[in-house]
Amino acid sequence: MKLVSISLRNLRIRMVATVLTMMSIIVATALYAAIVVMAEQTKARYEGSIGGFQAIAGPNGASELELVLNTVFNVGEAPGRIPLEVCQKLREPQGGRLSRTRVRYAIPQARGDSISRFNFPVVATLDEMFHKFEWKREPLKFAEGGAFEFSWDELIVMSKALAAYQNAVREEAENVPPRPLLKEKWKEAVVGSRVARQLNLELGSTVTPLHGKLGEFGTHEHEEAACAVVGILEPTNSPIDSTIYLPLGIHLLIADHSQGVFLKKPERGKSPVQVEDQPADPMRIGLTAIILDPLDHLGSHILRTEFGSHAEAQVAWPQDVVPKFLRQIGNAADALAVIAWLVLLVAAVSITVAIYNTMNERRREIAIMRSLGARRMQILTIITGEAALLSFFGAVLGLVVCHSAEFFMRALVEDLTGVYLDWSIFRPWEFWLVLGVTGIGAIAGLAPAVKGSLTQVADNLAQNY
């Protein structure tokens, strides 16, 4: 038998009070741990995910943060669209003003659909995403299979054919060219590692994009765009793992997409109806973003200058936007952490009160132990031990609650914030948190412990209960 077994027994015989007091410790610890986990995972996720996304061109009017969150972290809806011509000019070796921007690549993207109840976002793009795009200075690696084929040239050809078809229909021409068909060879998809894991996808599996997100009004499956998985990417520990890549052609030719695929050029002096009535321009396919990689500092500088005054597009720099965003998150996390510490403080006071209130009824028990030879310090240790054990178990259960919450809410959190919570990792600071909470509990137990240790032995032994 040890002193700790007496402390444990004392907690057990006052089970209701113990559980109620422990609840506040559990809540405080879980709250604090959840805040730190979110802040830490958000920081790690966001800092670690910008490697590769040097610059993003997106629509004017959206904030840079919105653009970065949507394009890099799959958060929220696409903030708007920009015409294909912006991308074309960035890619041209000579020509438009933007061609001077010296970029290594400019890859168009369009998004808006999703897959499965996990709402994995569908990104329609070119095969360059797997050849030219560099994730931390290396092309994306495939765990299985390879990239689909859909090139820039195919996009231009298809865009021109679609524009010609739509214009002929609009003008009610006699000879309407055939609507471009969704080629079978485009019905291919590359999926991120988490998508493959969660949906048990393997090469040859079929994925069917959903219009919008599951559960939203008007959601429906694009059966005509069901694609076979041709490649599964290696894990990058970034939102890429949760993304499904399809050829941009599919996105444009899906029945209800093609109607609004072309952006109309706003012109001064024309009403919205007149603008909408303009013929389709093949170079004005709507994209949600263009992934850019400037060649050098000069390229970055030119990009900033050129897009600074662009009528329809802007460029966002994840390396600038994300740290600012994280600082804001950090401030919010600090404020929440203060609240969690206050909850812990209240819990500590409740420990003091709960144990202090039992001291009167425990005087005889303490006197008996003293008569058996227990020193004051041992009584102090037993009572402080009770408070410490109560806090220890509360802290451990608090962490269990936190990890359970991470487990059950990870899909929702990722969908809302782009942050993937890895519930199975035990982080070193959790050990220190348990130790800290236990220490705070022990300190909270000191006042009743001192009172207990000062119990008069002879007086209380004489009482016959």
């Binding site: 038998m1 004392n10 008996i368 008569s371 058996l372 030879g373 227990a374 002879a458 016959n464």
Partner: protein, 227 residues
């Protein structure tokens, strides 16, 4: 074994000071079994607590098992009590949440330590007093006689040199309680332990080797009533 000289202990009641006990001289040898008798209020329990080191007298010298308790600090007295003194109370003072075995082990924990073979010793003691099949029962599940035996085992667990008993038969029938007391006195005798029992019951006092009337100790010379 025990030497008390000019020991006085008084309590404050408001502005009044009440003399609880006064012992001019008391000597008890090793292995003696002594009944301490006296009318109610003569300070029998107070003397017992002073001998145990629970109370510190206002003045006087106390030597127990070769140690001057009056010169020891509280912590040292606690340690001395845990290791060298076994106590049995009228109400037995077992801790209700603990089983018989755990109550005995508590004596070891605050005495010579509950590690090593303490559990075996406690089990063996409980076996010896006929509680081998009751050692995992709580005090509330035991009869008064069984509780008394557990209290005796707890007093013996540290193999103390001195056993102090405060009205150990006070709450139970004399026949059953007497048998248990006799058993304990036999164990004490076999192992040469000193036993002091406070009692107001002449029958119980007769079981001891000698009887000391506490009232007589105030006059300066202990008057002993031979058996």
């Amino acid at each position: 074994m025990i030497h008390l000289r000019d020991v006085k202990k008084s309590y404050s009641r408001g502005e009044q000071s009440v003399l609880a006990c006064a012992v001019d001289r008391l000597d008890i040898g090793t292995g003696e079994q002594v009944a301490l008798i006296g009318r109610s209020g003569t300070g029998k329990t107070t003397v017992l607590h002073i001998l145990a080191g629970i109370l510190r007298p206002d003045c006087g010298e106390i030597e127990v098992a070769g140690k001057r308790l009056d010169k020891m600090g509280e912590s040292a007295r606690d340690r001395h009590r845990g290791r060298n003194i076994g106590m049995v109370y009228q109400t037995f003072n077992l801790l209700q949440p603990f089983t018989a075995l755990e109550n005995v082990l508590l004596g070891a924990l605050f005495g010579r330590g509950a590690g090593g073979d303490a559990k075996e010793r406690a089990s063996s003691l409980l076996d010896k007093v006929g509680l081998g099949d009751r050692m995992h029962h709580r005090p509330g599940e035991l009869s008064v006689g069984q509780v008394q035996r557990v209290a005796i085992c707890r007093a013996l667990i540290n193999d103390p040199q001195l056993i102090l008993m405060d009205e150990p038969l006070g709450n139970q029938d004399k026949t059953t309680g007497g048998q248990v007391l006799d058993m304990m006195l036999q164990i004490a005798s076999d192992t040469n332990k000193t036993v002091i029992m406070v009692t107001h019951d002449p029958e119980s006092a007769k079981r001891m080797q000698r009887t000391v009337d506490l009232a007589s100790l105030r006059s300066g010379v202990a008057e002993e009533a031979a058996k």
